[in-house]
Amino acid sequence: MAGITLTDLSKVYDPGGEAVLAVDDVDLEVHDGEFLVLVGPSGCGKSTTLRCVAGLEDVTEGSIRFGEDDVTDFRASERDVAMVFQNYALYPHMTVRENIGFGLKLTSKLSSTEIKAKVEEVAEMLGITELLNDKPKALSGGQQQRVALGRAIVREPAVFLMDEPLSNLDAKLRSDMRTELQELQNDLAVTTVYVTHDQTEAMAMGDRIAVMNGGVLQQVGPPEEVYRQPVNEFVADFIGSPSINLLSATVEGATLSGPAGFQYELSDPTPLEGHNRVRVGIRPEDMTIGEDSPNRATVTVVEPMGNENFCYMELGTTELTARIDPTLRPTEGEDVPFSFAEAALYLFDDETGETLKAKTDAEASVPNRGVDLETEVSN
């Protein structure tokens, strides 16, 4: 077992003389036994960071330590890490048993009976005992995934690395495997770095999540903290589904003026000091529609989710989303008043994207329920 420390980690790719900075000066500490999720959009450097930790990529600058050991110059096989790949990377000509036992056979000093026993133990843990003699081709995606996990677990590595391991599974299986993976990680208590572009997965699984963009580490923290206290507009926008509503506004004293006549007056204008323009953010669950308000937006689509409805609206050219009670069904094209509490408001610097004000009130995140609305009766 070991924690992972990345110090000033940079990775430059140089294909055909054109340098691309994939990872830019990343400092990150993963605690011993922690489940850390690296999340970000495609090409943000998360997979490259993981591959550097795995030893599959050379590091351009900086260092990687496992516990006290500097492993920067170690080869992948010397690092005592196991990795689960997005496409599972099972050896096609080997049976499940051989696939799982391959690493042990090569590196451990165990006898073949001991290896057999370990493989069977892991297979039982993952519920794939009856598949041990099958080839990967005969398995379903979910089963292949389990074999890939088994191959990682059986070696009892100091660190688990997972590169979007669930992205090839269908939605139902994905959420089942998510839970299973978490339970497994809890039981084994092995330091795990998990890469995904899916922020829902990140929120659901991580002890902490690390958000990356453009090779730069944006924020590291527990999911709740990253969601509620994003350090900048990118993090606020990336984390949360549906995404946060964002609009540009000019500042006059304590009043924000946005597109299509949007006006909002702050009781505490301190965060606005020194700014002429800001970006305003409101989480969809903090939007209330139908209550008396001078701000109105046009409903474009209402998506029923069963337990709630997503109401998409337009404010000028800016799109807004509200998570509303399932009994509320405003009709398309209708102008509805919308409002939100000041405590739920986010403000970001117009140029740097830095957070000027985050959500402050815990109650503000509770979606509005049972609001009396004229449109309620429609449909």
């Binding site: 599959l56 080869r75 992948a76 096989s77 496409n87 990377a89 050896y91 090569l106 590196t107 191959r151």
Partner: protein
């Protein structure tokens, strides 16, 4: 609709007729060779020719073996071709793997240089090779027949193209499992490429089996002759022993037929490898 169906039927009939004609055209010489091997010389040259097998196969064979040790030549050919195929498959696969999956300086120029050697005909290489072999005193040896051809450009090209289809993640996964680079090649890449290896084996075996001019120049004692060299010796200056030549050629295709039958399934899938995304 009906017109289309009729057109399809005509097209199909034409296609099958063509295939049938081609098949017959290819099988007739083969059949004739086998029939001729069973006939005495007198019946072989008569007109109209006799088109069904006779009973003189073993007499012909005995006469052939009497004139030269042809069984020995078959053994020589099999030995050379098998050893060559095993070594060359290994070497070409390793080279193909390196070109497909590793980065090193001058990778592309080296690869194209290897491909460029394809334009050199064997006839051009025979004399320089003979001189080299004579210098190191390898003439009249099997190793002189085997070793110079081990690095086969077609083999390297074929394996490079096929090895490219192995996902990198598979190799990386083996690397993380603690495999050395050679283990990755030997235990992951090579087995995953089984059908390409079979196709390559047949190509290389055939190449060595058919090699004539070079062994003719290198081999001196008749005990070392390979089949093509021995066959050439059958065309005497006085008289051509067709019956014996036919027995010899019939026997010469037997090992090839066995090899192809054994590897047929893999050979076909190897040729088609990469044509369909599975």
């Amino acid at each position: 609709m009906r017109d289309q169906r009729r057109k399809d039927a005509v097209w199909m009939f034409g296609t099958y007729t063509f295939i049938l004609v081609m098949t017959v055209a290819m099988l007739v010489p083969l059949y004739w060779m086998i029939v001729a091997a069973t006939l005495p010389q007198s019946e072989f040259i008569q007109f109209p020719p006799r088109l069904y097998p006779g009973t003189a196969f073993f007499e012909n064979f005995a006469a052939l073996q009497d004139r030269m040790n042809f069984v020995r030549s078959i053994w020589n050919s099999v030995f050379i071709a098998v050893v060559y195929t095993v070594l060359s498959v290994l070497l070409c696969s390793m080279a193909g793997f390196a070109f497909a999956k590793y980065e090193f300086r001058f990778k592309e120029p080296i690869f194209y240089l290897i491909l460029a050697t394809l334009v050199l005909p064997i006839q051009l290489l025979v004399i320089p090779l003979f001189l080299m072999m004579a210098q190191i005193d390898w003439t009249d040896t099997f190793r002189a027949i085997i070793i110079p051809w081990l690095a086969n450009p077609i083999g390297i090209f074929l394996m490079r193209q096929n090895m490219k289809s192995i996902p990198n993640a598979l190799l990386e996964s083996a690397r993380m499992d603690g495999a050395t680079e050679f283990q990755i090649f030997y235990r992951i890449a090579l087995p995953a490429m089984r059908s390409s290896v079979a196709a390559l084996a047949i190509i290389l075996f055939l190449f060595q089996w058919d090699l004539f001019l070079y062994p003719l120049v290198i081999l001196e004692s008749s005990a070392n002759y390979t089949i093509p060299v021995a066959l050439a010796g059958l065309e005497g200056t006085q008289r051509v022993y067709y019956d014996q030549i036919m027995v010899a050629t019939t026997l010469a295709i037997v090992p090839l037929a066995i090899l192809f039958l054994v590897l047929q399934k893999q050979f076909v899938s190897g040729i088609l490898a990469g044509s369909l995304k599975e």
